[in-house]
């Protein structure tokens, strides 16, 4: 609507009293039908199904996902606003934590928290007169291979992430090698793995090797989810990754700021994702400095 001239300044908002109200309980109690009768319901159940399929197809598993959970927790410990700030996590902590739905353990799941988040989008022309360095939208892509989870053939990839990313990079006129950091929708650790895999950072089954040696954490060569993400900062749908990408590009992230402060690349190009359903819908956005 900005392009059509309908609007000048667009506000995008999310808020939820998820932890302190009965909202999520009401949703869980509403599940009905054959799936629920046989014990399969809720997002964790659906993503556990997907993660299990991926374990079968390309031999991933907790030895891969521990790097995601622990790497993001390290970022959260540089972010005083993060819900899990001050609560460090080791590989042993991860591997000894309880299952929610096998193979997903508690730290494989995103947080349930109260709170809200909002961002404002306007033209680059108007941005010149405003307070902060603009986080410029360089490319966008969506792909939605949406089917019932029980009918899905894409739980282990490729998900909508592959085409969405190709479209976004093409619009931005860049390649994956130009990307300095990623802010990935991380409802579960496995979502991060399959998204980065479909984005082409590594092939199926290569995730464990790619994530090892602190690749995504502070000081890593491809920082991912630098606020702590939905696993360790807070859950606001796609606004968790999108707002953090904007803040990094603006250079307002304090101790967790990408660049010299964290011995990482300057965030000139940040790849951002959102995903919906059980890997049924995907959006990719390239944000950057110009």
């Amino acid at each position: 609507m900005l392009d059509a001239g309908l609007c000048r300044n667009v506000l995008i908002s999310y808020g939820h009293n998820a932890l302190s109200s009965d909202s999520l309980l009401a949703m869980l109690m509403d599940f009905a039908g054959d799936d629920a009768v046989f014990g399969h319901f809720g997002a964790t159940g659906g993503y556990a199904l997907a993660a299990r399929r991926a374990m079968h197809e390309f031999n991933t598993g907790p030895q891969t996902w521990k790097h995601i959970a622990v790497g993001q927790r390290a970022w959260a410990n540089l972010n005083p606003h993060a819900v899990m700030h001050g609560m460090p996590m080791s590989f042993d902590d991860y591997l000894s934590s309880k299952y929610v739905v096998e193979p997903l353990r508690l730290p494989d799941n995103c947080l349930v928290n109260d709170g809200g988040r909002a961002v404002i989008v306007t033209t680059l022309e108007r941005a010149q007169d405003l307070k902060h360095r603009p986080a410029v939208i360089l490319g966008l892509g969506q792909h939605n291979p949406s089917v019932q989870v029980t009918q899905s053939g894409t739980l282990a990839g490729s998900t909508g992430a592959r085409k969405a990313c190709e479209t976004a990079l093409s619009m931005a006129g860049i390649t994956r090698d130009d990307v300095d950091a990623c802010e990935i929708y991380d409802c579960f650790t496995y979502t991060v793995e399959v998204t980065l895999q479909d984005y082409g950072f590594f092939g199926p089954g290569e995730g464990e090797s790619w994530f090892s040696e602190g690749t995504i954490g502070p000081g890593g060569r491809m920082p991912v989810n630098t606020s702590g993400g939905q696993l360790s900062e807070a859950y606001y749908m796609g606004l968790t990754p999108l707002s953090e990408a904007a803040m990094q590009i603006m250079g307002r992230c304090g101790d967790r700021q990408l660049g010299p402060a964290t011995n990482t690349a300057e965030p000139n190009i940040v790849l951002v994702s959102d995903n919906g359903g059980i890997l049924q819908a995907h959006s990719c956005c390239v944000l950057g400095r110009i």
Partner: protein
């Protein structure tokens, strides 16, 4: 690059987060929106588009959270209102 046809994020709004009891979902929307507007250096009269993200069902003692409700409580009349499906 056409600066009138290129778009950017120019403000971010935060709220207290974690366990914050006694608050409605609407109140978190409103606080995040107000903080984002101030963060960008805009005033609420400048906001002429509002998109509320897809959302979970309302708690038993709240109304469903729509973009209309958020706009009404912010005191704005955007030219464009929208809400993603979950």
């Amino acid at each position: 690059m056409n600066r009138e046809k290129t778009y950017a994020i120019v403000g971010v709004g935060y709220t207290p987060q974690g366990r914050v009891p006694g608050r409605t979902s609407l109140s978190f929307h409103l606080e995040a929106c107000a903080n984002a507007i101030a963060d960008a250096g805009l005033s609420q009269d400048d906001i002429d588009g509002l998109i509320c993200y897809r959302h979970f069902p309302a708690s038993s003692d709240e109304n469903d959270l729509t973009s209309h409700l958020v706009a009404q409580h912010l005191g704005i009349e955007p030219a464009y209102l929208s809400q993603d499906a979950n």
